[in-house]
């Protein structure tokens, strides 16, 4: 499976990453190698086989639907890289385009 510039461009944008050109070349080569390896799954006949996304057969175990205390605001904000009042502060989102 060839990984060309367009594919890697899409992936870095979906993954919210920005790769420098040197790193990009190494990653493209490694991606191609790993995808080449995993292609062996094509040999397995999976016609009509249900996919497994979790091995737990009993299904989710839900807790009682009762209110309980959650993280206090001050604690939740204590590690914010930037805050304003009771909010996380982020760079401008709206207004440019």
């Amino acid at each position: 499976m060839p990984i060309d510039d367009r594919v890697i461009g899409d992936l870095q944008s979906l993954g919210a990453l920005r790769l420098d050109p040197q790193e990009r070349r190494t990653l493209m080569a490694n991606l191609e190698r790993v995808l080449g390896y995993v292609d062996q799954l094509r040999a397995v006949d999976t016609e009509g086989v249900e996919p497994t996304s979790s091995v737990i057969e009993v299904g989710n175990v839900l807790r009682e639907d009762e209110p309980h205390a959650c993280l206090p605001v001050e604690q939740a904000l204590a590690q914010a890289p930037a805050r304003r009042g009771d909010h996380f502060e982020v760079p401008v989102v709206l207004g440019e385009e």
Binding site: V7, I8, D10, L11, Q12, L14, G15, A16, L17, R18, L19, E23, T26, L27, N30, L31, R33, V34, L35, Y37, V38, D39, Q40, L41, R42, V44, T46, V49, E50, P51, T52, S53, S54, V55, I56, V58, N60, V61, L62, R63, E64, L71, Q75, A76, A78, Q79, A80, P81, A82, F88, V90, P91, V92, V93, E96
Partner: protein, 486 residues
């Protein structure tokens, strides 16, 4: 008196008879860890001192026992870096369930250990703060990703440590370091407070020097937790009750066809020798056919990276962790993530994004999920004919630092025998089984039936006994300064 060299069980006996106090044990372990640290760099950090005493030997099952914890398991107020730059400054406001349970059981945290960034790796070389060395040979890796935890136990710095296992990250480093590593059944131990890598595969477990110690610690970790919806409400039997029943009456399955290629000669010879000894002691050996296991690595690297790419989307520099300055929000996300993640984590995010993206989803993610179903059926069928499946933990003993670090695929193949237990959710344990001629630990793995950790541990104890590794452990060359009284 070398308290740091004693097992959990031996320490419990010494405490009960009044030969020593928790403070003395803690000091002995800390001195051993300090002396080993410059050579193996197993720890990220140490606690300032022992916690206030909790209970006594009667009420708290792990009273006075020091331990080390992999740094992807939350301890309130302590760093939880996952050895990633992106979490370099992060301190969780709460304890993981396992941290809470061990504290309630009287265990004393000594320090937190080095790991591959976000548990992605098999050598601890992907740590943003540098690798850990193997106490058996400082030129070799301790395995990974729980390499710091395995090295700390092997170097006699702590009697037990916690690790997490997504594709072999407890068992493979335990194998490389000559210690015991147990990955319980998926859902047995709460993942609350464990930083998520691949949520359908992750499981916490103990790394110890003996199988009995693994059972003792496992007993405290296991059990339902309402805060983790995948944590099973099934009752936990006492794994120590029948643990000494020995090999007689055990049926062990050997996947011979799978072991024909790619095995190191000494690993293969060790397996045959140990199987012969088990048979002599009364175990029955049968052959089991696991053709789907050939596809385990391919299946694993599709599913684990898909889950990881989703789980790691949360690191965006907004609520916690390291933020890179930028003038707009998208650029801030990209700059924070690009600077924050190392090369292997970036590769896995890209790979996971690829296999989940439109147009490739069916060919990769869906296909791998179907193969996972076939693997589970196959393993369950094999385990209906035997009590446990025996195979090596890794195809080779511990490899050299730097040997595989530039070749991700070669690194992935270190886990060829371990990933299937995660994909199928079954419990598995690595037990030291001998030494190579060059004096490196060898290790065999047992895989058991879901939720039957007691039977698995009994089989592991039998294997440990026929291997007699306790005597071989003494062959490890002491680290510089090790054993010199402070």
């Amino acid at each position: 008196m070398g308290l740091h060299r004693l097992s959990v069980e031996e320490l419990q006996a010494a405490l009960r008879s009044g030969e020593c106090t928790p403070a003395e044990i803690y000091a002995s372990c800390r001195a051993a860890a300090d002396s080993a640290q410059p050579h193996i760099r197993a720890f990220n950090r140490f606690e300032d001192g022992p916690p206030p005493p909790r209970g006594d030997a009667g009420s708290a099952p792990l009273h006075g026992i020091p331990y080390a914890s992999k740094e992807n398991i939350a301890v309130a107020g302590r760093p939880l870096t996952c050895n990633s730059r992106i979490l370099a400054n992060y301190r969780p406001p709460y304890d993981a369930t396992v941290t809470e349970r061990l504290r309630a059981a009287g265990a004393m945290l000594l320090g937190q250990t080095n790991m591959d960034e976000f548990a992605m790796g098999s050598s601890t070389e992907n740590s943003a703060t540098g690798p850990t060395q193997n106490p058996w040979d400082l030129a070799r890796t301790p395995g990974g990703s729980s390499g710091g935890s395995a090295a700390a136990v092997a170097a006699d710095a702590v009697p037990f440590a916690l690790g997490s296992d997504t594709g072999g990250s407890i068992r493979q480093p335990a194998g490389c370091c000559g210690v015991v590593g147990l990955k319980p059944t998926y859902g047995r131990v709460s993942r609350w407070g464990l930083v998520a890598f691949a949520s359908s595969l992750d499981q916490i477990g103990p790394i110890t020097r003996t199988v009995r110690d693994a059972a003792l610690v496992y007993r405290e970790l296991a059990g339902h937790d309402p805060r983790d919806s995948t944590c099973l409400p099934a009752p936990v039997e006492d794994p120590l009750a029948g643990i000494e029943q020995g090999p007689r009456g055990l049926t062990l399955g050997v996947p011979r066809a799978l072991l024909k290629e790619g095995l190191d000669r000494e690993v293969a010879a060790n397996l045959d020798e140990v199987l012969a000894r088990l048979a002599r002691e009364g175990a029955s050996l049968i052959e089991v056919d696991l053709p789907m296991m050939r596809y385990a690595i391919a299946t694993y690297y599709i599913l684990a990276t898909a889950e990881a790419s989703s789980n790691l989307a949360r690191y965006d520099g907004v609520r916690y962790g390291v933020r890179a300055q930028a003038s707009d929000l998208d650029e801030m996300y990209r700059a924070s993530r690009t600077r924050g993640f190392g090369r292997e984590v970036t590769l896995r995010i890209l790979l996971g994004t690829y296999v989940l993206s439109a147009g490739y989803y069916d060919a990769y993610y869906r296909k791998a999920s179907q193969v996972r179903t076939l693997m589970r059926r196959e393993v369950v069928a094999a385990l209906s004919r035997c009590d446990a499946i025996v195979l090596p933990t890794s195809p080779t003993p511990a490899f050299k630092l730097g040997e595989r670090v530039d070749d991700p695929l070669q690194m992935y193949l270190s886990d060829v025998f371990t990933v299937s237990a995660n994909l199928t959710g079954i419990p598995a344990i690595a037990v030291p089984s001998g030494l190579t001629r060059a004096g490196l630990p060898l290790s065999l793995q047992l895989m058991g039936r879901p939720l039957q950790e007691s039977l698995l541990l009994r089989a592991a104890r039998a294997l440990e006994q026929v291997c007699g590794f306790a005597a071989l452990r003494k062959a490890r060359q002491p680290l510089p300064g090790e054993g010199v009284p402070a």
